[in-house]
């Protein structure tokens, strides 16, 4: 082989560097995947121990209404591990917060994209960004010092409960839903608007009949993302919900959520005990629910594509 052939056939420095760089970046990516898999593996293995190791029945766990794992029921000889109060609490605050936040989010998004594009965006964009930026403990602190006393003075009782949790979560998920809704509304093609206005529709008719309809899958996705955030939020909710593992009697009775019981309990139980295992089962439910939210988002995305 002559010189040039040899040169062209040899691995150049560039090729070697590229192989190295590719390997490094791929291993970083692999690391992230491994982390995700291990989170599921570890939490699931601990969480399932409740059923396989401690012999708790799934039905008792999911539908039992008394939560006091360190006390044994004298009749059944089983500890009180009914997680329904927390499951109900979590779903209640999540749905209520989403129901309250959605009209606000849609209204604000419409203001930014349809009603007052320039001024609306200039004012509301920073508002949304600042709301996202506020840490959840600060939301919790404000909830504790403003919302809870307010509820107490208006409705009586302690002020802690589902209602306070809902109000705090409403503000927390509002920016999430709003910014995603804004993106969706912006992606509605311009000619939709023009053709609606051209046939004599008022602005509101255009928004209601054309834009919101075209943007429905995107808005639903935004709401689901907001709900996922609400469902997984721990400290802010824990600070205002009252932390009583009881079935919520009404919106202002002290209650609890999966996350609040977890944050309060994990430190006070011994690893490997039933009291500890059931808490990991709660964590497992959180994990699976975030998976469910993910699947819902995907399903909405797929249906949106089909249209």
């Amino acid at each position: 082989m002559d010189n040039i052939t040899q040169k062209l056939m040899q691995k150049s420095e560039s090729t070697k560097k590229d192989a190295m760089g590719r390997a490094i970046s791929l291993s970083a990516l692999a690391l992230i995947v491994i982390v995700v898999i291990s989170i599921f593996a570890f939490v699931m293995s601990r969480g399932l121990a409740t059923f396989f190791h401690d012999g708790v029945s799934v039905k008792d766990f999911l539908f039992g209404t008394t939560w006091n794992p360190s006390v044994v029921d004298p009749h059944t000889k089983q500890p009180y591990i009914g997680a329904l109060p927390m499951i109900v609490g979590s779903f209640l605050v999540t749905f209520l917060a989403a129901i309250v936040a959605t009209p606000f989010a849609i209204g604000t998004s419409l203001f930014m994209t349809e009603i007052a594009q320039k001024r609306g965006t200039k004012i509301m964009q920073p508002v949304i960004e600042l709301l996202v930026g506020i840490p959840s403990v600060v939301y919790g602190f404000i909830g504790l010092t403003v919302v809870v006393p307010f509820i107490r003075s208006v409705f009586g009782g302690s002020g802690f409960g589902i209602l306070s949790g809902t109000i705090v979560l409403f503000v927390m998920i509002l920016p999430t839903i709003t910014s995603m809704t804004v993106d969706t509304l912006k992606s509605v093609p311009r000619h939709y608007r023009e053709s609606a206005l051209a046939i004599g529709a008022t602005r509101w008719q255009m928004i209601y009949k054309v834009i919101l309809r075209a943007a429905t899958p995107g808005i639903l996705t935004a709401i689901v993302f907001g709900m996922a955030r609400a469902f997984g939020e721990a400290l802010a909710v824990q600070m205002v919900i009252g932390n009583a593992a009881l079935m919520p009697q009404n919106l202002i009775s002290p209650s609890s959520t999966l996350t609040s019981v977890l944050t309060m309990g994990i430190g006070n139980t011994v690893m490997g005990s039933l009291q500890n295992d059931v808490l990991w089962t709660l964590a497992m439910i959180l994990l699976l629910m975030s998976l469910v939210f993910n699947l819902i988002v995907r399903a909405i995305g797929r249906r949106g594509e089909l249209k």
């Binding site: 590229d18 690391l31 992230i32 009209p103 840490p135 403990v137 509101w204 008719q205 977890l262």
Partner: protein, 294 residues
């Protein structure tokens, strides 16, 4: 109601709603600042917290927060950068890429308390790191990785393909082009993303209460040997951060001035986080200007 009235009514409602949202933010910010700022003093920012009496500060917590932030960024930035490079520059459409993207999406949507509990299980308990800055930094890394990776990936994707072709045509490999051409051009928006994520990390508490712990032992600020237990730099010591401190004293604080301390601490937390948010964009814009001007 005819169409015109409906239109006017709807417009009015939309204005009102937006006004309320803006008002909520203003009210929250002013509440925190009005309640908290008067409490701020050099003494408050530098002295250690007190458990049972009034007059405690947040000095150690503040230091812990920044130290933890620094360690978290040191661990998560290189990983996120490398992962983003792979995703944007090497990955082809296919099953592997889909799986990886799904994994990142799932990680970003996991409740931070669950991420913290995983850190607790693996690092605090299994690896015997105990409640420590290191455990906390690793938990925060998991919490930070998906969003940081995605933001860096977006920054890389914004650099036009012309630049990649230019590198290839000069006989440079993908890697050389990325490191020396694409990355420098993407620096402004990467910086914005990193500083924004720093704000998130600084305010995070749920992932930390069972990893970095809820206690802030006294530190000897004269001892900078990271192997000494009272050294501020020791990564194996438990370290309650500012955000955790706010949660902790509100949940079970018994000092008489608890509301004043939490208002002051909240004000500091919010000011720092807002500074991160504002400076992120300012810094990015500044770097961008510097890069493109002569």
């Amino acid at each position: 109601m005819n169409a015109k009235t409906a239109d006017k009514l709807a417009t009015g409602i939309i204005y009102t709603i937006s006004g309320i949202v803006a008002l909520i933010l203003v009210a929250m910010l002013s509440f925190i600042l009005v309640r908290g700022v008067p409490h701020l003093s050099w003494h408050f920012l530098t002295s250690p917290a007190k458990a049972f009496e009034a007059g405690g500060g947040i000095g150690i917590q503040l230091f812990n927060s920044f130290y933890l932030l620094l360690l978290t960024m040191l661990i998560s930035f290189p990983i996120a950068l490398a992962a983003a490079i792979y995703l944007n520059e090497y990955a082809r459409k296919g099953r592997f890429t889909t799986i990886v993207r799904t994994a990142i999406e799932i990680l970003s949507s996991l409740p931070s308390v669950v991420v913290g509990l995983f850190g607790f299980l693996l690092f605090v308990v299994k690896f015997h790191f105990g409640f420590s800055i290191l455990s906390g930094a690793i938990a925060l890394t998991f919490f930070n990785l998906p969003l940081l990776t995605r933001s860096i990936e977006t920054s890389l994707a914004q650099i036009p393909n012309l630049q990649r072709e230019a590198g290839s045509a000069l006989g440079l490999s993908r890697w050389e082009t990325v490191i020396h051409v694409i990355l420098p051009a993407a620096v402004p928006s990467i910086v914005t993303g990193v500083v924004l994520s720093a704000g998130r990390v600084f305010g995070e508490a749920a992932a930390l209460i069972y990893t970095a712990g809820q206690s802030a032992p006294a530190l000897n600020f004269g001892d900078w040997n990271p192997f000494n237990i009272s050294s501020p730099l020791n990564p194996m010591r438990p370290a309650e951060t500012l955000a955790v401190h706010i949660w902790k004293i509100n949940s079970e604080g018994i000092m008489p001035d608890v509301s004043a301390v939490s208002a002051g601490a909240s004000a500091v937390l919010i000011i720092v986080v807002l500074l991160f948010n504002v400076s992120a964009r300012k810094l990015g814009a500044m770097l961008h200007k510097k890069l493109t001007s002569a």
